[in-house]
């Protein structure tokens, strides 16, 4: 599993931020966005995760390269919301929260709309 190393001023100590931490922050930011019904991981992605050992937890895939982070989010949208607007909100929230809490640089937040939830109808 990849980590981001942070140096909090003291040269003898460092903090490691794992993919799990970033995944949790991204998941929370996504679920708090208006118009998001839930997170989803497709069957194909789950098989890919098993084979590639990529991190994919409850619809969030995180890739760390050095200090840069690439995030894929698999979302179920509530009916009645404009998808591009919700996606933009998710991207901004994730970038803001991850960068504020970990000091990592979020390079990409890719949003995958998997399905629509019609419970609000």
């Amino acid at each position: 599993m990849s980590h981001i190393r942070q140096m909090p001023g003291d040269e003898n100590s460092n903090i490691e931020v794992s993919e799990d931490v970033i995944s949790t922050i991204a998941s929370k930011a996504t679920l708090e966005t208006k118009g998001v019904s839930g997170l989803s991981a497709g069957i194909g992605k789950q098989i890919a995760t098993m084979l590639n050992r990529e991190h994919l937890s409850k619809g969030i895939k995180v890739l760390i390269q050095g200090n840069r982070v690439y995030i894929d989010v698999y979302v179920i949208i509530s009916y009645g919301f404009r998808i591009p607007e919700v996606a933009w909100e998710i991207q901004n929230s994730i970038k803001r929260d991850v960068e504020a809490m970990t000091e990592a640089v979020v390079e990409e937040v890719n949003i995958h709309i998997q399905s629509i939830n019609y419970e609000s109808l």
């Binding site: 497709g42 069957i43 194909g44 789950q46 098989i47 098993m50 995030i71 949208i77 009916y79 919301f81 404009r82 998808i83 591009p84 996606a87 933009w88 991207q91 901004n92 970038k95 979020v106 990409e108 937040v109 890719n110 949003i111 995958h112 709309i113 998997q114 399905s115 629509i116 019609y118 109808l121």
Partner: protein, 183 residues
């Protein structure tokens, strides 16, 4: 994928790897094949129960193989998507989502008894095909224009994806009237 299917996939892959590893040695020595046949004969034909167990184990592997083959060949619309670039990454919207929005758009349209929606990527946008079974009172040309406009407008508003073409196929006209069906 369910936990059961995951475990099944791991067990299946493990045994297929072992079996193919043994089979790989056959071209190098005929003894491998002889020993393999002897091993099977010694263990399968010793009793009725051993034959039954062997049959069910192999049948389980056969069923698992068919199941994985079906999963692999089945068109998974969640993985097919229209992709748009944004400043912070990409936005991909599955064709399944676009189809369900088109279906919802048609839901309250009078005159339609049954409907199916299919979609495909088309350049920067998407083509939508509507297959309909309609009531006999319906004036098809009028209804077609109306639903094309409605579906295009609803899908584009919700997704931001350009609907390039909407093909309407009237598959059949039902024998029931709208009144008898309670429409």
């Amino acid at each position: 994928m369910s936990l059961f299917k995951r475990v099944l996939l791991v067990v299946y892959t493990f045994f297929i790897t072992i079996i193919s590893g043994v089979l790989l040695m056959i071209p190098f020595s005929s003894k491998v094949l002889d020993n393999l046949v002897k091993l099977l004969e010694d263990n399968i034909y010793i009793s009725f129960y051993s034959r039954v167990i062997f049959f069910f184990v192999v049948a389980l592997f056969f069923a698992a193989g068919i199941s994985f083959l079906y999963s692999g060949l089945r068109k998974n619309k969640q993985n097919l998507a229209v992709i748009k670039a944004t400043d912070l990454g990409a936005l991909s919207i599955s064709l399944a989502s676009i189809e369900s929005l088109a279906l919802t758009s048609l839901k309250n349209t009078k005159g339609i008894k049954e409907m199916k929606v299919d979609s495909a990527k088309s350049g920067e946008g998407v083509d939508i095909t509507l297959q309909l079974i309609v009531y006999p009172e319906v004036i098809v040309t009028e209804m077609t224009k109306k639903i094309q406009t409605m579906v295009k407008s609803d899908v584009e508003a919700a997704t931001g994806v350009k609907v390039m073409n909407i093909f309407v196929k009237i598959e059949n006209v039902t024998n029931y009237t709208m009144r008898s069906a309670g429409e």
